[in-house]
Amino acid sequence: MSEPGFTPDEMMTIAASRALKNDDVCFVGIGAPSAACNVARLTHAPDITLIYESGTIGTAPDVLPLSIGDGELCDTAVTTVSVPEMFRYWLQGGRITIGFLGAAQLDRFGNINTTVIGDYQAPKTRLPGGGGAPEIAAASGEIFITMKQSLRGMVEKIDFYTSFGHGDGGDHRERLGIDTKGPTMLITDLAIWRPEPESNEFAVVSLHPGVSRDDVQANCGWTVKFADNIEETPPPTDLELQTLRDLKARTKAAH
């Protein structure tokens, strides 16, 4: 790759931010999702509603929070509710249009593991667990997943179903009585993926600038499907890049 003037991480965040609309109500996790949501808010989606599971509704933080419960989120929120209310009225109540999730392990159907690597009872690595993710994955209108690609992370079979994506594919969600769309987009540092119509298996629909099909396959543990017409992700605009970098700079200065 030549020097593109931006990092794969920046491309991932900006590509994710573009998928958000002005009238979306987003359940935001920490890390890449938080950056993407706030870049969207600071560029093309000024009225987007950002919700963090700590109970803050309609936040507009000036710096990215280190945790989902930083004071900045409450200070800038339209309102802050208790955590039981957040999960009952707001998430389970079906008010979230987009849930943003990350993954330690991900499979081709968008199922996510953030619980353990290895056997649950005698794990190789004990991860933090699901937190809000199991019900975010089921109750949000649709799910966007962001993660950096790696052979360790994108696997043939995940060790624990922390969040249900499309299960074994096809209409598996429907068969379980889950009436939301599930993962509709996977944004990695290399590409944008969407589930194929029938199978619901993720296929690459757009490669980030300078990324080849081989790059994607080399960093994915399953045999990658590519859509018929693959686009190139438009590179970050100056505004997008500047917005993201300013946000990160303010964040670094603050923490």
Binding site: I30, E53, S54, G55, T56, P65, L66, S67, I68, G69, D70, G71, L73, C74, T80, V81, S82, V83, P84, M86, F87, R88, L91, Q92, T115, Y120, Q121, P123, K124, T125, R126, L127, P128, G129, G130, G131, G132, A133, P134, E135, A138, A139, F160, Y161, T162, S163, F164, G167, H172, R173, L176, G177, I178, H255
Partner: protein, 284 residues
């Protein structure tokens, strides 16, 4: 009726070996001083409950006081994993740790049900995931109206709940503002409760619909300025993010951890928390 007393007295009178205990706080208002006092008193064989066990649970586990943990997310928020908890789960050091693992939605509902005096919480949850394979306390009920199958979990009703709050008035009414977490529910669900506060005031000056615990719902109140550090108290001091980041290194090695605990917990007092937040007050 709330009793005003010292933190050491409140801990020794209310928490006993083998109890089920919640130290609640959702990033905000985490009762660090109370947990440190429990560690100093060596109260052991605890079942600890919390949605988001973080540094203080890592510390309680690391010194061997915890038998079982009921939880939904065990991480150092924004930093990474809990290394002492991992060591206990993966290597059994310093003792094995039994886990009862839930999702946030289930835990939040379980506290709510506990506060509501119900034996169970009902939610639309756990669909398609593996939790119920490793947790016998995830069952289901069928809605007699719609026929829908919904998840059921037992309510959380701890023997003791510890929380940190901004302030109490002289009668013992306690005010919590900002990010509320599940603290009100955790206190109302518990048999006994100990609340550390930043200060006691004449008048809470509270909004009519503020999150307030009447004095007769609280067992003990202890004034411990800075008692949430390195967590924060909205309006008093900000979160000590550097401290959380530093924990990742301190907790990565058993000896480093034990030495740090000796210096900062075992040989410290609740009064020292005030000094730890001194420089964090200006940003609040």
């Amino acid at each position: 009726m709330a009793t005003f007393q010292s933190l050491p007295d409140a801990v020794s009178e209310n928490l006993h070996d083998g109890d089920t205990v919640a130290f609640e706080g959702f990033t905000h208002l985490i009762p660090h001083a109370a947990a440190h006092e429990v560690i100093r008193q060596g109260i052991t064989d605890l079942t600890v409950v919390r949605m988001t066990p973080d540094v203080i649970y890592d510390q309680l586990i690391g010194v061997g006081l915890v038998k079982k943990m009921i939880f939904s997310y065990a991480g150092n928020p924004g930093v990474g994993l809990l290394r002492r908890m991992r060591d206990a789960v993966e290597k059994g050091w310093p003792r094995t740790l039994e886990l009862e693992e839930h999702s946030h939605a289930a835990m939040a509902n379980a506290y709510e049900a506990g506060a509501a005096g119900l034996p169970l919480a009902v939610l639309r949850g756990y669909r398609g995931v593996d939790y119920s394979k490793v947790n016998d306390n995830i069952k289901s009920i069928t809605c007699p109206f719609s026929g829908e199958t919904l998840a059921a979990v037992p309510s959380v009703q701890p023997d003791v709940t510890f929380i940190h709050a901004q302030k109490a008035d002289r009668k013992g009414n306690v005010l919590i503002e900002g990010i509320l977490g599940v603290q009100k529910e955790a206190v109302l669900a518990a048999r006994r409760s100990v609340v550390t506060v930043e200060e006691i005031v004449d008048d809470l000056d509270a909004h009519p619909n503020a999150c307030l615990l009447p004095h007769w719902t609280v067992t003990a109140i202890c004034t411990v300025p800075g008692g949430a550090h390195p967590s924060y108290a909205h309006g008093y001091y900000v979160r000590d993010n550097a401290n959380y980041i530093a924990w990742d290194r301190i907790s990565s090695d058993r000896d480093t951890f034990l030495a740090w605990m000796d210096e900062h917990v075992i040989n410290a007092t609740p009064q020292e928390f005030a000094g730890r937040v001194e420089e964090l007050r200006t940003q609040a």
